[in-house]
């Protein structure tokens, strides 16, 4: 017997025996319940899924969570900070892929630079190009005498150095060779202390670092004074001793007595004019009488102006001692002839 037939028979049978209690239940007085009791309380439990499916679901959710977390740390988490200080001060937060997560102006001039710009998720190189372009449009970095401070704040030193080089390279690529501004760089570890201090004075962490270095050496400078200084002056103040030490080291490698230093300073211009950088005092060479420089095209000093070899007495004019304009040797020959008479 087919299922359909069975079910049809059941439906008919139930239809026959189902009582009609409508009249009893429709109008019977009832008491409205205040709350569900153990009979009416909904107690539908969800259907159980198989253990394997549950386990697979757990693993899948876990994998998704891990994936999202990794993606988030790779893309959205700040891996380093790049501060650009000219007079406008700009801070770029970047992720592991050197993409900009956020760009922040640290002073009013910086606000003007970033105005209308959306650098989010752009490559660092492109962001730098955009910022440099904006700076030039606003009158900054228009001279090779202008300076820019690049500060990289990152935990990993190797990566920080790579980032410094990336920024420097990009700046050099941006400007024509004869108008590239001076770029000062420094790497720092980002600390809450420097962040707070910098925030207090509304300056970048890079500038704050320079100020702290200067104050250690020159405590008479106040922060308010230093904050107003241009970047170039700050950097030179902060690292001046280092530059002088480097210079002394160079000198010590030469002779150490200072004479070279004087020579270096006095003759530097003259020396710079010479392409080879070697001394070339032609006047000294001209004092050599044995050589007529105008005919000595070969540079060989062995012939005189008549193309005679030097040292050949037969042609030595200086042998005419008696003044008859004849070679004395010839006179000696004549004497021999006279003897024959």
């Amino acid at each position: 017997m087919k299922n359909q037939r069975i079910e049809a028979g059941l439906s008919r049978a139930i239809g026959k025996i189902t009582p009609d209690v409508y009249s009893k239940v429709a109008t019977a007085p009832i008491k409205k319940m205040v709350a569900h009791d153990h009979i009416t309380a909904p107690s539908i439990t969800p259907a159980k899924t198989s253990y394997r499916l549950q386990l697979a679901t757990v693993f899948a959710v876990f994998a998704v969570v891990i994936g999202v977390f990794i993606g988030w740390t790779q893309f959205f988490q700040t891996f380093g900070i790049v501060d650009l200080d000219v007079n406008p001060s700009i801070e770029l937060s970047i992720n592991r892929q050197n993409r900009v997560i956020s760009a922040k102006a640290l002073n009013l001039d910086g606000v003007q630079i970033l105005s209308g710009m959306n650098l989010k998720y752009s490559k660092l190189e492109n962001a730098i190009d955009a910022i440099l372009g904006s700076m030039i449009s606003n009158g900054y970095l228009t001279s090779p005498d202008d300076a820019m401070l690049v500060t990289v704040l990152m935990e990993e030193e190797v990566k920080a150095e790579q980032l410094e080089n990336t920024v420097i390279l990009r700046v050099n690529q941006f400007f024509p060779p004869d108008s590239t501004p001076v770029v000062y760089t420094q790497s720092l570890r980002d600390t809450q202390e420097i962040k707070s201090k910098a925030g207090e004075y509304q300056i970048s962490r890079g500038v704050m670092n320079l100020i702290e270095i200067i104050q250690q050496e020159y405590p008479d400078y106040t922060i308010d004074q230093l904050v107003e200084m241009p970047v170039r002056q700050l950097y030179e103040l902060a690292y001046r001793d280092d530059d002088e030490q480097d210079r002394q080291d160079d000198l010590d490698e030469q002779d150490g007595d200072g004479e070279f230093d004087e020579l270096y300073d006095d003759n530097q211009d003259e020396l710079d004019e010479d392409e080879n950088g070697e001394l070339d005092d032609q006047e000294d060479l001209d004092m050599d009488d044995d050589v007529d420089e105008t005919d000595d095209t070969s540079g060989d000093d062995s012939v005189d102006g008549d193309n005679n070899e030097i040292g050949d007495d037969d042609f030595d004019d200086t042998s005419d001692d008696n003044g008859d304009n004849n070679d004395d040797d010839d006179v000696e020959n004549n004497d021999d002839i006279d003897d024959d008479d």
Partner: protein, 193 residues
């Protein structure tokens, strides 16, 4: 037609089984039309379900009454969950189990009087009677419930699973196994006669 039916104390006949939560909500506000619509839609379904549990049609009738009265009493407390019939089956099941417990689990005993029960005698078609008898006699509780609901209410297996709070796989399994047992027992009974 609806007005005529109400005047004659006969609820209208509505073929399509469509219970939405708005109906329960209206019953909670003592809407008589809503209750009459609800009754006609669910009458056979609720009776067959209760019968599958208690096996005695007389007891099933009493429990069916209690179920509808309970629905009227608690409809205003129902919170929409997208499964109004699941709530109705919960009430019917709880009342049925209370009845079985109070009668010392003698549901099976009630079935022994199938041949002599006046209610079952209303089934005129012999084959239909055999089918119902074999279902009630030879199948286990869940198999009975699933097959009856599928046959009487037109619920799909997925809907039965949702309304009874059972996995779909279980419903399908019980359905096919139950039908197999039913076919076998029917054939045996027919062959024995």
């Amino acid at each position: 037609m609806l007005l005529f039916a109400i005047i004659n104390n006969q609820p209208p006949i509505i073929d399509k089984f469509q219970i939405d939560e708005n109906l329960i909500h209206r019953i909670g506000h003592d809407d008589p039309i809503a209750f009459s619509e609800f009754y006609r839609l669910t009458q056979k379904t609720i009776f067959s379900y209760i019968l599958s549990l208690v096996l005695n049609p007389n007891d099933a009738e009493d429990i069916m009454q209690d179920t509808y009265l309970k629905i009227r009493s608690a409809a205003h407390l129902y919170e929409p969950q997208g499964k109004p019939m699941a709530w109705v089956f919960t009430i019917a099941r709880n009342l049925s189990f209370m009845h079985i417990r109070s009668h010392n689990n003698i549901a099976e005993k009630g079935f022994e009087d199938f041949e002599n029960d006046s209610i079952f005698s209303k089934i005129m078609d012999q084959e239909d009677k055999i089918i119902l008898e074999n279902l009630l006699r030879n199948l286990e509780e869940t198999e009975r419930s699933v097959i009856l609901l599928h046959a009487v209410s037109g619920f799909k297996h997925r809907e039965i699973a949702k309304n009874l709070g059972m996995p779909l796989a279980t419903v399908l399994s019980k359905y096919h196994r139950g039908l197999g047992k039913l076919r076998k027992s029917i054939n045996l009974q027919k062959g024995g006669r």
